[in-house]
Symmetry: C2
Subunit: 405 residues, 2 copies
């Protein structure tokens, strides 16, 4: 049996934590499992390196920034190996390059193309623990790349898939995936099990525990993930294939997200190609549009609203202003003070009326809904940012998410 | 014309220093030279990493320690490249592995077996500055290795030899090689030129500016070295082949070293194989014996004295105690309070009487000589540690080393 364990930055933040992690790996191994470990950089190392980069260059060069940042995992992985060897556990560290994690050439957010893993297999065959640097790979041009936000989770899942691991354990500073953010809803419940699809919707709508890309990768390669705490070591949340023989909870979680802003273009001509022109222009600027809502046309004109990351609002408005003129829109407005509240649940598919109930709960709280968007297992509403935490609490209560499922 | 420039840790200690170095490289390049740069880790990075290692493991594992320490140059080289690119100078960083610096498998003090340098040549052909991590390579087993003390100097000289550079500039925090340690002899003079052989003797006897191995490598591969300051950028000291057409200075420098201890074995039998048994036993423990003096035999017995690094004294005494019993020696004594003072000069070969003059000077100062050792261009005396600085000053004055040569 092979287990892949991934430890985030807080899990290896200092020598004491590293020794605690080494001890847990040793125990896992005594339990009979082969272990491959993926580590992030210690604590705030990546931030510290980024600050140095900005002190030497106005716009740090992508290739060199990746070279710089990968020093972080190099440090944490070699320290973890030393700690393991000190406990009598044979261990060998591998950079992304040595582990055969081959990526495309997009510095800063490279995509994994292939996981070779020969040296990892050799290490396991020798009875050693393989410790692999997360977040990094080597490009087809033989340059060092990084995988971007949440990259270490992706490394872990990709290795688990390539090596045929039974489980990919993601150790972090929270004890699992919760029915809502416990800082907002103190009675939020730890979920023992969520489906890949639910986890994807949660990751996309504000649940920050797992990075979206790693969940997609796990779903596509059928890798069970176990999210758990490296501080309490208690069982956490399993993210797995949906089990068709078990009745799904109608709602698993309420998520919220305050990182977006809303843009509205008023009274554009309702003719083919209008939306295409607008969103092509935004895509060309690499602005990530999330929700899009277009109202029913009245008198041959319509309003289009969409959300973008707040950090990109200024750039988005520049693009939109240009396109709006071409489209003869009457105006462009925006609002950075919005938030999104979302219900996620695999059982929603077979239970009509969830949306209506959600709107009733928000109405009863006097919270105005500005935009609505749905998928088969998700309903999102845009509300005023100032009201979102109240909305989350009301929905969590109304759908009785604090009760054990 | 190709120049290799090596910058030590103090030269790239912080973002300001890194930008100053980038500026100097840019100016060198505008002067028409192709430039390959070798960097050490920033400031105290290596010490910080070593401290972390000792906090996670009682005896950090060699392979993992090398993996850890090489993070240091990775950080400095990528920051330097960013700073260069920010100045409009194309630059590409290479790890020891990417630069094709192939070593043996001795972690912590690997020897360079081969310098491939293909990617460096490609970078130069594209008009870029190649910035290479010092101190590191990749072993024939594909593991990351470090070259040990002074390893970045060795990297620089090896690259200069492999690439056919006209000069290897070693930038440091002193302005060159001096006729004595300026902290001991304030009127010590910067030497404009020393021979490889003189530099080797100086490096071996306490002159800490260049590491011994890098000078040996430079001599064997005929690479001229220019040691200079990255703080004042003024011309420093050239270390070059001896010029047979120029009369050599009789004495170039006085060096001293307080890092050794003396061990004496009294009254061992004077028969073949005695010295061999003793020094084989020490060599097997990897204890580096420096000076060895054996007195003339009286009544079939002799005394043997030798020096070892003070850090190894305890281990050396354990070895010697065992061997002494086998050799029926009457006793073993040791003294950690010694120092070595050395005169180095290529002109000594053709000038008899230097040794006599040295002993006279020390006698006039009332300084007792405990051991003597000579080569064709060096005379070393072991004296009490408390008297060594006075010995250095007296010799520097007596041989008029403060005068321009």
């Amino acid at each position: 049996m092979l287990t892949v364990q991934k430890y985030g930055g807080t899990s290896v933040a200092d020598p004491d934590r590293i020794r605690a992690v080494a001890d847990h790996i040793a125990r896992t191994r005594r339990g009979g499992a082969e272990v491959v470990v993926v580590v992030s950089a210690m604590g705030k190392t990546t931030d510290d390196l980024l600050r140095l980069a900005r002190e030497v260059a106005r716009q740090p060069h992508g290739r060199e920034l990746d070279m710089l940042l990968t020093a972080g995992e190099r440090i944490s992985m070699s320290l973890l190996c030393m700690a393991l060897i000190d406990l009598g556990v044979p261990a060998v560290s591998f950079t992304g390059s040595q582990a055969g994690i081959v990526t495309d050439t997009t510095h800063g957010k490279a995509k994994i193309l292939e996981v070779r893993g020969d040296r990892i297999r050799e290490a396991l065959a020798r009875g050693a623990v393989a410790v692999v640097a997360g977040f990094q790979g080597i490009s087809t041009d033989r340059d060092i790349t990084t995988l971007g936000r949440g990259g270490s989770d992706t490394t872990a899942v990709a290795l688990a898939a390539a090596l045929g691991a039974e489980v990919c354990e993601i150790y972090t500073d929270v004890s699992g995936v919760f029915s809502a953010d416990p800082r907002v809803v103190p009675e939020a419940r730890k979920l023992s099990r969520v489906s890949f699809d639910e986890m994807l919707e949660m990751a996309a709508t504000g649940g920050r525990v797992l990075a979206l890309r790693s969940v997609e990768f796990a779903r596509n390669h059928h890798v069970p993930i176990h999210v758990r705490s490296s501080f309490t070591w208690e069982p956490g949340t399993w993210v797995v294939e949906e089990d068709p023989t078990v009745e799904q909870a109608i709602i698993s979680a309420v998520t919220h997200d305050t990182s977006e802003a809303k843009v509205t273009i008023a009274q554009v001509a309702d003719r083919p190609g209008v939306a295409a022109a607008l969103f092509r222009a935004l895509a060309d600027e690499a602005i990530n549009v999330d929700m899009i809502v277009q109202n029913v046309s009245t008198a041959g004109h319509t309003d289009i609203s969409f959300t973008v990351p707040r950090d990109d609002l200024h750039r988005a408005l520049t693009v939109v202003a240009k396109v709006a003129a071409d489209l003869e829109a009457t105006g462009v407005s925006h609002d950075a003070g919005i938030a999104r509240v979302t219900l996620v649940g695999a059982g929603m598919k077979s239970n009509p009326g969830v949306a209506a109930r959600m709107f009733e709960v928000l109405a009863a709280e006097g919270i105005n809904i500005e935009m609505i968007s749905t998928s088969s297992i998700r309903i999102s509403c845009v509300v005023a940012e100032a009201e979102v935490e109240r909305a989350v609490r009301a929905l969590h209560r109304a759908f009785e998410l604090e009760a054990a499922s």
